[in-house]
Every structure is written in structure tokens, then in C-alpha cells.
């Protein structure tokens, strides 16, 4: 593997849960040295939430905790002790980037807020990411991503017009925010190379979410239209929706966006008589009869698997796609071609799947080589090699409980 893009870039990763760690992961994918700071006494949410290997809880058994921390080194350090905070400042001294995804004010309790870090290292680049941003009347919003997603307007746009809005299980804005921030963070790294100046980046995840609803927002701003949920319909195209297929809870998505695609769809379905209905020959006509048409298409799709429908239609240049379940993603031939899932051997979980970036760089491919760390897994390497502590220092820290270990974990998460 060739030289990695961010080789030599150093990140002190204090961030919790999803957004903060994913930003650092993007740098870690491409060779940055990222040290993740955690503590057995209060394990962060991804370690307690699961999913756990075989459904069995354990501080190092959660794939949520590993998936977002590919290629990172992990140390255990109790930041609630003066000595722990002192060690953390040494890590800041070492770092190019410091990460924060706590509620506003939390890092300050440990002396690790931006201003404090700037005193330690004037050109530090420091990012804070939280639901609402660092300032404002709602800055203390008790936010998980699911609440931020509701506040940003997504839930209202999810579901059926005749039913309650639906949640977005994936806490959508939590998974778009990291890429917005990573883009800016890399620009900040380059800015520092040019000017010697550091940077503080204060991201609001709700604001990122709103940005990806841009046209819908403008529809309100310019037209005072309050968009609402439409099931699987589209304002501008028909037929457009999900169609039942052979198998349990199996569906295919089909969207016809032109007369030509309509004719090809009919041909693939064997030119059924109902398709010759004059009402269906125009786009407007199809839109006005969409319920009827979609029921009829469903009578055809139900005899096929989603893959069959997709293949037949795509070869006729009609847009169609399997409604993929998680299981399907792992056998998807295109994702396999892209080598999306990489399998790494984790000390506790065993061999399991990690994501890779959505972009492929032709000359500097990323190197996905290290599973997300067990808590404290790299203590020796980081304390000794990076921070230059002696074996005696490290022993003392362990004895004093500043460097925590498994027996400090909550009972329910301790290794058996």
C-alpha cells in the first residue's frame, strides 16, 4: 500500500457516538494517526447501545463502537482526574486536530475546550459538532440524532399522508454531518499549512440536515408551501413507487420518467391489454390514474423476485431497483465490486464488517487495516511511543486508576 494521504496528521479524538468519530475516521481511513480517548468507568453510548456480537453485551462487543472507529488507536483515560486531564493536555500538545461532539460546555469541565487547547497549542484545529451548535437559546437541547432529525424537518416528510409522520431510524443528519465537517476540516488543515493558523469549527447537525432539504426549504421560503409526506409517490412522475415481489416482504422500486420508459415497461411486462388504455399513453394521463396503474403493475411484479424485475427493466432502460434489506447489501454484486464492506479481525468480536468511503481515489486508495479499538487496546503504544511515558509512569497511572481497565467497567459490560 502506497503512502497514505493523511500520513503524519495527528488527531486527539475525544468525541462520542457517531458524528465526531466519523469525521476522524475519514482521516484515519487515509492514514492519519487518530487516538481515541475513552474510559471504562463511563463507556460511551456506542459501546452500550449495541448491536452486540451474538446479542451478548460487553464493552468491546458492540459493532456500533467499532464501525465508526476504523484504523484508530484506543486508550483508556479517566478525564475526571487531575492527572488524567494532564495527560490529555499532552495529547493535545501532540495533536494537529482535537475532536469534540459533547454537549456545549462539557469539554470545558475537563479543561479541553477550544480556548484551553489553544493555550496549549496555538495552531490547534478543533472541531465541535452537536445538534444545535455551540450557542443559541437551544444550545442545551438534549439531543440524540433522532431528535435533531425531527427538529430539522425530516420526520414530517417521512411516511404516509394519511398517517402519523415516521421516525428515521438511521438518525439521518448524524450521518450526513460528518461529511460536511470532514470537507471543512481538510480545508482547515490546508489553511494552516499555508498560514500557520489553527481553526475552530462549530457545526450544528440540525443545520446540516436542513441543508440537505434545501429545495424543500426554498419551496417554503419562496412559495410558502409546507411540504408533506407522500408515501412512495412523486409529484412529477408516475408510475412511481414500490411494488410487491415474490418472497416475504420483498419489494422493487420502479420510477417511470418518460414515455419511452413507459413503453419499455409495458413491453417487458408482455404488453398486457390493460396497458393499451388510452388514458395511460401520456404522462399526465398516467399521473391521474396512478393508483390504478400501480395496482396493475403490482400484479406483474408479484410473480418475480425483486432482482428479476430490476434486471429485466434496467436492461430495457427502465429505472428499477431492489428495495434492499441489510442482508441484501452484503450480497449486492455492485457493492462487492466497489469493495464497500471490508472485513477485519477484531480481538473480541472476531471477523466483522467495516465500511469504506463512497469515493475511490485512483492514486491514493485508502488502507483499511485496523479494527475499531477495544477500550484501552493501544494504551501501551500510545502512552509509551506517542506520549513518551516510562513503564513506571504507566504502572502508576494504572494503579491510581487514571488509566482504567476492564474491572472499572459497569458490571453488565465487563468481559466474562
Amino acid at each position: 500500500m502506497g503512502k497514505q494521504v493523511f500520513e503524519g496528521v495527528k488527531v486527539a479524538d475525544f468525541s462520542w457516538v457517531a458524528v465526531g468519530p466519523q469525521v476522524a475516521r475519514e482521516l484515519a481511513f487515509h492514514g492519519a494517526t487518530v487516538v481515541r480517548v475513552e474510559c471504562h468507568r463511563w463507556p460511551e453510548t456506542t459501546r452500550t447501545a449495541g448491536p452486540f456480537k451474538d446479542g451478548k453485551t460487553g464493552i468491546d462487543r458492540s459493532a456500533f463502537a467499532t464501525a465508526y472507529n476504523t484504523n484508530k488507536y484506543g486508550i483508556s483515560l479517566d478525564l475526571n482526574t487531575p492527572r488524567g486531564q494532564e495527560i490529555a493536555t499532552r495529547l493535545v500538545q501532540w495533536a494537529d486536530v482535537v475532536t469534540d461532539s459533547m454537549s456545549p460546555g462539557a469539554m470545558a469541565k475537563w479543561g479541553l475546550d477550544y480556548e484551553s487547547c489553544k493555550k496549549i497549542k496555538p495552531d490547534i484545529i478543533y472541531y465541535s459538532t452537536c445538534q444545535m451548535g455551540q450557542e443559541g437559546p437551544y444550545r442545551q437541547f438534549k439531543g440524540y440524532g433522532m431528535l435533531g432529525v425531527s427538529y430539522a424537518g425530516y420526520c414530517n416528510l417521512n411516511g404516509w399522508p394519511d398517517r402519523d409522520p415516521l421516525p428515521l431510524f438511521n438518525n439521518h443528519s448524524d450521518f450526513i454531518s460528518p461529511y460536511y465537517l470532514a470537507t471543512a476540516l481538510i480545508a482547515a488543515l490546508l489553511y494552516r499549512r499555508k498560514t500557520g493558523k489553527g481553526m475552530y469549527l462549530d457545526q450544528s447537525q440540525v443545520e446540516v440536515g436542513i441543508n440537505l432539504l434545501g429545495p424543500t426549504v426554498l419551496d417554503y421560503m419562496a412559495n410558502r408551501r409546507i411540504a408533506t409526506r407522500m408515501g412512495n409517490r412523486d409529484q412529477y412522475h408516475a408510475p412511481h413507487g414500490l411494488f410487491p415481489c415474490k418472497g416475504a416482504d420483498r419489494w422493487v422500486a420502479i420510477a417511470v420518467t418518460s414515455d419511452k420508459e413507459w413503453r419499455m415497461l409495458c413491453r417487458v411486462m408482455g404488453n398486457p391489454d390493460w396497458a393499451l388504455d388510452a388514458r395511460f399513453s401520456t404522462a399526465l394521463g398516467r399521473k391521474n390514474s396512478e393508483d390504478e396503474i400501480e395496482a396493475l403493475i403490482g400484479e406483474w411484479t408479484v410473480n418475480h423476485t425483486p432482482d428479476e424485475v430490476m434486471t429485466l427493466l434496467q436492461h430495457a432502460e427502465v429505472p428499477a431497483g431492489i428495495v434492499q434489506k441489510a442482508e441484501d447489501l452484503f450480497s449486492d454484486p455492485q457493492l462487492s465490486h466497489r469493495d464497500h464492506f471490508r472485513f477485519l479481525e477484531h480481538k473480541v468480536i472476531g471477523r466483522h464488517a467495516y465500511h469504506s468511503p463512497a469515493y475511490r481515489l485512483s492514486k491514493t486508495p485508502c488502507d483499511i487495516r485496523k479494527p475499531g479499538p477495544c477500550l484501552g487496546e493501544d494504551n501501551e503504544f500510545v502512552y509509551r511511543e506517542i506520549l513518551g511515558l516510562s513503564d513506571d509512569d504507566i504502572a502508576e497511572l494504572l494503579i491510581d486508576g487514571v488509566v482504567t481497565c476492564d474491572t472499572d467497567s459497569p458490571e453488565v459490560l465487563r468481559a466474562q
Binding site: P137, A152, Y179, Y200, L212, D219, A222, P319, Q334, V412
Partner: protein, 422 residues
């Protein structure tokens, strides 16, 4: 050029060929201060026909989708399929830093403008190609309007009601996610280029971008061999030593709906939140049966569905009696895990967004008014002056670029126009 924006990507030029399948990428680079030139076919790009429209007037200069995704870009027209057009593009590449495109895989190569060709013109060039599934592979030729794309990425299956098909989010995300990851990938390549002088090709898959947005859906399959399925306004929690727990999360209220977490103590703050919500209800003379409920004894790992439903019922009744604003105000004060399910109107009127200075006013002289746009969601300590520029009109900057910067004459432009080059 009247760009008064000295900022992080100052001095970088982006040639943006991407239609709606990649437009967000150039927009994000423009937000960081790059000079983004949107290059459209003569007469304008077909994506100008994407709704919604300003005052519902379907006109190529009134697409709100176009306005949003092409904010801060300049606009020129160019027909790459003519020899003159091809030439002009190569000249532009000589001094450009990024090329972004979203054509079908192979199209740029056919024109002699693939990455291998551009690299010869300018070894520093970064070419970012954004397609539904990537440049190569069994699905690389597949067509993917939003619903097809997000379905293939796994995002549709995780949302829905159990008695209906899964559902797509009623706001397109597929190509926005691809554009977003395209911007990140472009910046990784840019960092490498700044250090080494070497450009490269950035090949983006919108499908992968969707897979990366699924939180733990892939991990749940990998660990538990379960494919998460949307099941209405509830969350399901798998539990090692008990049947799964279904927790309602969306509740009707007086003027809409709220999202509220009322479950056991699994997540930080849940005990305090549930207690505070019950107290709020009690104060209103409701949920009397939950007075003195021993919230801290709830074990999320073993609480029965019956018990949880018993707790939720009176709270659901209470929530229905209050407005979103009333509930949210209390939630903020008392630490209740609750958020309003906002409409676009609520978003526009949010005091938090106003306090953050989130909105930006963009002047549209042709419309005779200013429209409020979402602003940049990250505050940077190094601030840069920036006047937002509305999306370009068709061929708006032809003269500025071709004549002003490239030394063509106005007569050349007429000639090229008549010959279908611009």
C-alpha cells in the same frame, strides 16, 4: 470577477459539469470559497426543469432546485461534443483545479476528456465523477431516480408501517448524498495534491453514500442476522435476555406531532427525562397513575411490553393536549428528550436558527426580491467576508469567462453561439 470571498478554497477553480446528479458537490466547494464555474450545454441544462419552482412558474430560470444547488456558481454554456467546445474545455482545464461531472460512465472518455486525457493537459487536475453506482461494475449502467437509488442503498426498507410497503423519504437524498461524499473525496484528493502536486480521479458511488448513512443497520445484520424493518412510529430494541421492546416515539399533539423518548433507562438521561415528563403531566392533573413511579428501577433489558405500554398511555394522552411549542419549551427547561416534528414553517421560524445567524439572504434581481436560503452549517473561527451570489442564469458569465479571462472576442462568441458551441 467580483468575488469578494477570500476564504479556505480561495484561488481554487472548479469546472462543474454536473447536472442534478452531482450539483451539490460543486456547491459545497463553492461554500468554502472556490470559484465554481457551472458549465451547461447551450441553452441551459435540463436539470433547470427540476421542481419546485419559484411561484410555481415552471421556467428554466425559476427552478428552486437549480437555485439551491447552484448557489455561488458562475455559469457558462459549452457544447463538449463539438471540436471547438472540446478545445475550449481543454483550455479551461489547463488552469483549473477540479473538474466535477455526473455523466454516464464512459461519456467523458468517449469525448477524449476522461481523467487520463485531462491528466495530460494538467497533471494537477482532480476529476470527481459522481454516478449512481460508480464508474464500473455490474450496475454501473443502471438508471436511478431518487427512489430507485435510495432503495438500492438500503434506506427505504428501514422506514415504513408494518401493514404497508416500506416508504421513501419524501425529499430526494440520493444525489445530495453523492454530491456530499464527492466534496469530501475531492478535498482528500486536494490535500494530497497540495502536498505532492499530483491530481487524481475521484470515483463516487451515490449508492455507497446511502449505505454510509444507515447508522447501524448494516452492523445489526452483521452481528444479529436481522434486517431492520421500519415498523411505524416506534423503535424496536433487540434485547439479549428478553423479547424485543417496541417503544412508541412519535406522538400526536395539539397542533401536530412530537418525537419523544419514553423508555427504560438504556440511554443517558432517560430516567430524568421520563420523570420530568410525568411531573409535567401531573402538574396538569394528568397521568396521576405515574406519580411516584420508580423510574430509576426500570431495567430496559427486562421491562415487559405491557409495563412500557402502561407507562406510555397516560403520557400519550397528556402530550395530545399541548402544542409543539409548549412541549418543546418545557423539554428544554426540564431536560426532557423531546423534539417537535417540525414543518418547513417551524424551521423557518426557529429562534435557534435565527440566533445562529443561520439564514442567508440572497438577492435575485430578476425576481425583484430576496429569498432566504439555508446558510453554511459550520461556524469557522477564521471568518471570511462573503456575499452570496444567486445561481447563474443561462450563459450569464460567457462574456466574463470567454472574453474577459480567455481572450476570445465578442465576435467569437457570436460565431460560436450560431455554431452550437456555446
Amino acid at each position: 470577477m467580483d468575488f469578494d470571498n477570500a476564504s479556505l478554497l480561495s484561488g481554487c477553480r472548479v469546472l462543474d459539469l454536473a447536472d442534478e446528479k452531482g450539483a451539490l458537490c460543486g456547491k459545497l466547494l463553492g461554500e468554502l470559497g472556490a470559484d465554481v464555474i457551472r458549465i451547461e450545454p447551450p441553452g441551459g441544462c435540463v436539470s433547470r426543469n427540476t421542481g419546485p419552482f419559484y411561484h410555481d412558474t415552471p421556467h428554466p430560470e425559476k427552478s428552486l432546485h437549480w437555485y439551491f444547488t447552484n448557489l455561488n456558481k458562475r455559469g457558462i454554456t459549452l457544447n463538449l461534443e463539438t471540436a471547438d467546445g472540446n478545445d475550449l474545455f481543454r483550455r479551461l482545464v489547463e488552469s483549473a483545479d477540479f473538474v466535477i461531472e455526473s455523466f454516464e460512465p464512459g461519456y467523458m472518455e468517449e469525448l477524449g476528456l476522461g481523467y487520463g486525457d485531462l491528466e495530460k493537459i494538467n497533471p494537477r487536475i482532480i476529476m470527481t465523477s459522481i454516478t449512481p453506482f460508480g464508474q464500473t461494475g455490474p450496475y454501473s449502467g443502471y438508471k436511478a431516480p431518487d427512489i430507485v437509488g435510495v432503495a438500492m442503498g438500503g434506506m427505504v426498507y428501514i422506514s415504513g408501517e408494518l401493514d404497508r410497503p416500506p416508504n421513501r423519504l419524501s425529499c430526494p437524498q440520493f444525489y445530495f448524498l453523492g454530491g456530499l461524499h464527492g466534496a469530501t473525496g475531492s478535498m482528500v484528493a486536494h490535500y494530497h495534491r497540495e502536498l505532492t502536486g499530483e491530481g487524481q480521479h475521484v470515483d463516487v458511488s451515490c449508492q455507497q453514500a446511502v449505505v454510509l448513512s444507515l447508522m447501524i443497520v448494516a452492523e445489526i445484520w452483521d452481528m444479529l442476522q436481522y434486517s431492520y424493518r421500519g415498523m411505524g412510529p416506534t423503535y424496536a430494541g433487540a434485547r439479549p435476555n428478553a423479547p424485543p421492546l417496541f417503544s412508541r416515539v412519535i406522538y400526536p399533539c395539539k397542533d401536530g406531532h412530537v418525537f419523544c423518548l419514553i423508555t427504560g433507562a438504556a440511554q443517558a438521561g432517560m430516567v430524568a427525562s421520563s420523570k420530568a415528563l410525568a411531573e409535567m403531566a401531573n402538574k396538569d392533573g394528568m397521568a396521576a397513575e405515574l406519580q411516584d413511579y420508580p423510574w430509576q428501577t426500570i431495567d430496559a433489558a427486562t421491562i415487559t411490553q405491557e409495563e412500557l405500554d402502561r407507562i406510555i398511555e397516560p403520557l400519550k394522552e397528556f402530550l395530545a393536549t399541548k402544542t409543539k411549542a409548549e412541549l418543546f419549551e418545557e423539554a428544554l427547561e426540564r431536560g426532557i428528550l423531546l423534539a417537535p416534528i417540525t414543518t418547513m414553517k417551524d424551521v423557518a421560524e426557529s429562534p435557534q436558527l435565527a440566533a445562529r445567524g443561520f439564514w442567508q439572504e440572497v438577492h435575485h434581481p430578476e425576481l425583484g426580491e430576496t429569498i432566504t436560503y439555508p446558510g453554511y452549517p459550520i461556524k469557522l473561527s477564521e471568518t471570511f467576508a462573503h456575499t452570496p451570489r444567486r445561481a447563474p442564469l443561462v450563459s450569464e458569465h460567457n462574456e466574463e469567462v470567454y472574453v474577459g479571462e480567455m481572450g476570445l472576442t465578442k465576435n467569437d462568441l457570436v460565431f460560436l453561439k450560431v455554431n452550437g458551441v456555446i
